[in-house]
């Protein structure tokens, strides 16, 4: 490489997030927001419920964002996004993308009623869930997005989480929405391509982003990208999309021969697990990935 030249990146340089946000170091949530806004552009209105991003956006009178932001009550993201959509539509603006941006608690748990209601009405909104797999803003309590075997402050190591992570994409797919997809910050081009694709579709769109949380996952803060990548390579968090509730496409296949332990051992939230627990997780991940492959093969054309 010619060292005299500035590094060229294929990621657009235009930013709609500022430096100086107050996320914890290594947090994937601001990285995800930054990429998503690059893909969405300035004609974007964000609706954010109580979640880590309430803090990351900055306290009054500061803001780390260059797009309008409406903070809303914990359980209301999708309903509030519906309201913004209705208002700007009636005023003649059908171009601006209205984005609900919520954590896993606000999506999988307390906000799922409003989310189900909004997507059933096929509201013209993009809902992005950044999923750090527990209530991290309140200090690491389990949510229905917490994976089997994980430690949290409400699932202590002696009695770790004993239920599987809720399959949120399948819940959204069951509503037959135009577009549902998963993404991680380890594959930024892929993430941005999905956001851009979603932006171009009318109706309800849902993107589920795995969002590693170094303090909550009990891991070193430089491991966020590595953990995001291993989640995909092990098949723990497969990257795929589902169009119109029927066409499944795996967008980044998992890597053969990467065991789940490579992902799990990065994080001390799984430190209490025994070898037989790893076997259980490996079997469950393999089974789920096979199921996804079958759905891809059996999936209908659009």
């Amino acid at each position: 490489m010619d060292r005299g030249q500035a590094l060229k990146t294929t990621i657009p340089e235009q930013d709609y997030m500022t430096s100086g946000h107050i996320a914890c170091s290594g947090c994937a949530a601001p990285i995800a927001m930054r990429y998503c806004l690059k893909a969405l552009g300035e004609k974007t209105i964000l609706v954010v419920p109580a979640c880590c991003w309430t803090i990351i956006a900055g306290p009054f009178p500061y803001s780390s964002l260059k797009v309008p932001l409406l903070h809303t009550a914990f359980e209301t993201t999708a309903a509030a996004a519906s309201g913004v959509r209705a208002a700007i539509d009636i005023k003649g603006d059908t171009e601006t993308t209205v984005v609900g941006w919520a954590g896993d608690g606000g999506t999988f748990d307390i906000g799922i009623q409003a989310l189900s209601g909004a997507v059933e009405r096929n509201e013209d909104i993009l809902y992005i869930c950044y999923d750090n797999e527990a209530y991290m803003n309140t200090g690491i309590q389990r949510s229905s997005a917490t994976p089997w075997g994980a430690w949290t402050t409400t699932t202590p190591a002696k009695h770790p989480e004993d239920k599987p992570k809720k399959d949120i994409i399948e819940i959204l797919v069951a509503h037959q929405i135009p577009y549902a997809a998963t993404a991680t910050v380890a594959y930024p081009h892929e993430l941005m391509a999905k956001v851009k694709k979603a932006k171009g579709i009318k109706g309800s769109r849902f993107i589920h982003i795995l969002s590693p949380c170094p303090p909550g996952w009990r891991m070193s803060d430089e491991l966020t990208i590595k953990a995001s990548r291993l989640a995909v390579q092990t098949g723990i968090f497969p990257l795929y999309e589902v169009e119109k509730g029927r066409k499944y496409t795996i967008t980044v296949p998992r890597k053969e021969g990467v065991p789940v332990t490579e992902y799990l051992k990065l994080q001390r939230r799984f430190a209490h697990l025994k070898p037989e627990d790893y076997d259980i997780i490996q079997k469950n991940v393999d089974r789920a990935y096979d199921r996804l492959l079958r759905k891809t093969k059996q999936s209908e054309t659009l």
Binding site: Y62, T76, A79, A80, A87
Partner: protein, 387 residues
């Protein structure tokens, strides 16, 4: 143009004439006809609004808040469990200074299930920062919706327009429907100053450290205080344009030389007016005040009228458990600070909970009891309790 309308449809016509732009609503007895009619008006193109069929009242208010923040005039209607489900967001709407107007049909809270009227649903929202208007007739309902937008959009606080379940919501009365041009002249298009705008990106509702929060709440109270004069001004303007007025915050009836003043609200005020006339014919010096507004509380009016009286009787179709009738307690509270050593004794009556009828006989019983006794022996005087 006059039409025979049920109370609920009077609400719908009020919203139609106010040219609401976003409606988010969920059905609940006895409110349902309000939103059915609005949905029909939208479908027919009579009303150019977005109608969102939300999955709960909680989402109805969330959508209204967001739509209002995006600059649209919004409306919803609810009742009882729907209203109380919204409670969190009622705080949000007022704290966000969003001039939303909502109709609430007063219905009792379960258990046991009741669809009939009392005021505990709306009075439980007392401290949320919403203005509250209690209506007596279908005409007042329609007119109050239009007035409510005008008041709300001046002071930037939300307004609840309230009517009794069935006694008003399902009763048909002749209602004068004002001309659209006159309403447009009275109520100009909303120009909300603080809105979501991609050309001027701002954040709304950010984390607010202690050095700012107190001032924002102080301003909500100041807006409530300012509302007092705005309500009176808007009611006078309404009179000039439409020929009808409602006395602003309270309506006085035959109080000029009254020794006993009855305090009532909602449809109970109509019945009370008739009983006052009967007793006046019998030579009793009795008058009435109708509490049209509960928030802001008409402290000045109530004090000025009641300090002339020898006795006060308050009818509450509501209760704050462990204290008493809610209107009564607030009236006692504002009278506490008057200069006169001899304050009028305030008799607090609770009647008609869960939609039990408050008839002329009930009101006569209340007035006779007040005339007979020197002072209330108990904080609450219950009417019609079967033991």
């Amino acid at each position: 143009m006059k039409k025979i309308l049920m109370g609920n449809h009077a609400v719908s016509y009020g919203a139609l004439l106010s040219r609401v732009e976003v409606i988010a609503a969920y059905p609940i007895t006895p409110q349902t006809q309000v939103v059915e009619e609005l949905s029909e008006m939208c479908a027919q193109g009579k009303l150019k609004a977005r109608y969102i069929n939300v999955e709960s009242e909680h989402s109805a208010m969330a959508a209204c808040i967001a739509a209002e923040q995006a600059g649209a005039r919004t409306f919803t209607a609810t009742s009882a469990h729907g209203l109380t489900l919204m409670h969190e967001l009622l705080h949000w709407a007022a704290g966000g200074r969003l001039p939303i107007v909502m109709a609430n049909i007063n219905r009792s809270m379960a258990p046991g299930w009741s669809i009939w009227t009392d005021q505990n649903d709306s009075l439980s929202q007392r401290d949320t920062g919403w203005l509250q208007i209690y209506c007596e007739s279908n005409q007042e309902v329609l007119d109050s919706i239009i007035q409510a937008y005008k008041i709300a959009e001046q002071i930037l606080l939300p307004v609840m327009v309230i009517l009794d379940a069935f006694v008003l919501s399902h009763t048909f009365e002749p209602v004068d429907i004002p001309k659209q041009e006159l309403v447009d002249q009275f109520l100009p298009e909303l120009d909300y100053p603080y809105k979501l705008d991609v050309k001027n990106p701002c954040s709304f509702g950010s984390l607010l450290p202690p050095e700012y929060y107190l001032e924002l709440r102080y301003k909500v109270q100041k807006a409530m205080e300012e509302a007092h004069d705005v309500i009176i001004k808007v009611d006078k303007e309404f009179q000039q344009v439409f020929g009808r007025s409602y006395g602003g915050l309270v309506e006085e009836y035959r109080t000029e030389d009254a020794e006993l003043v009855l305090v009532a609200s909602s449809t109970v005020a109509s019945t009370s007016r008739m009983v006052v006339d009967q007793l006046r014919d019998e030579g009793v010096k009795v008058g009435m005040i109708k509490m049209r507004f509960f928030r802001p509380f008409p402290t000045k009016e109530v004090t000025n009228i009641l300090k002339q009286a020898k006795k006060v009787a308050v009818i509450d179709r509501n209760i704050s458990y462990g204290q008493g009738g809610i209107f009564c307690e607030e009236i006692r509270s504002v009278l506490y600070n008057i200069d006169r050593q001899e304050k009028p004794p305030v008799f607090g009556y609770i009647a008609g909970l869960g939609g039990r009828d408050i008839t002329p006989t009930t009101i006569r019983e209340i007035l006779s009891h007040t005339l007979k006794e020197d002072k209330p022996k108990e904080n609450i005087i219950w009417i019609g309790v079967k033991h």
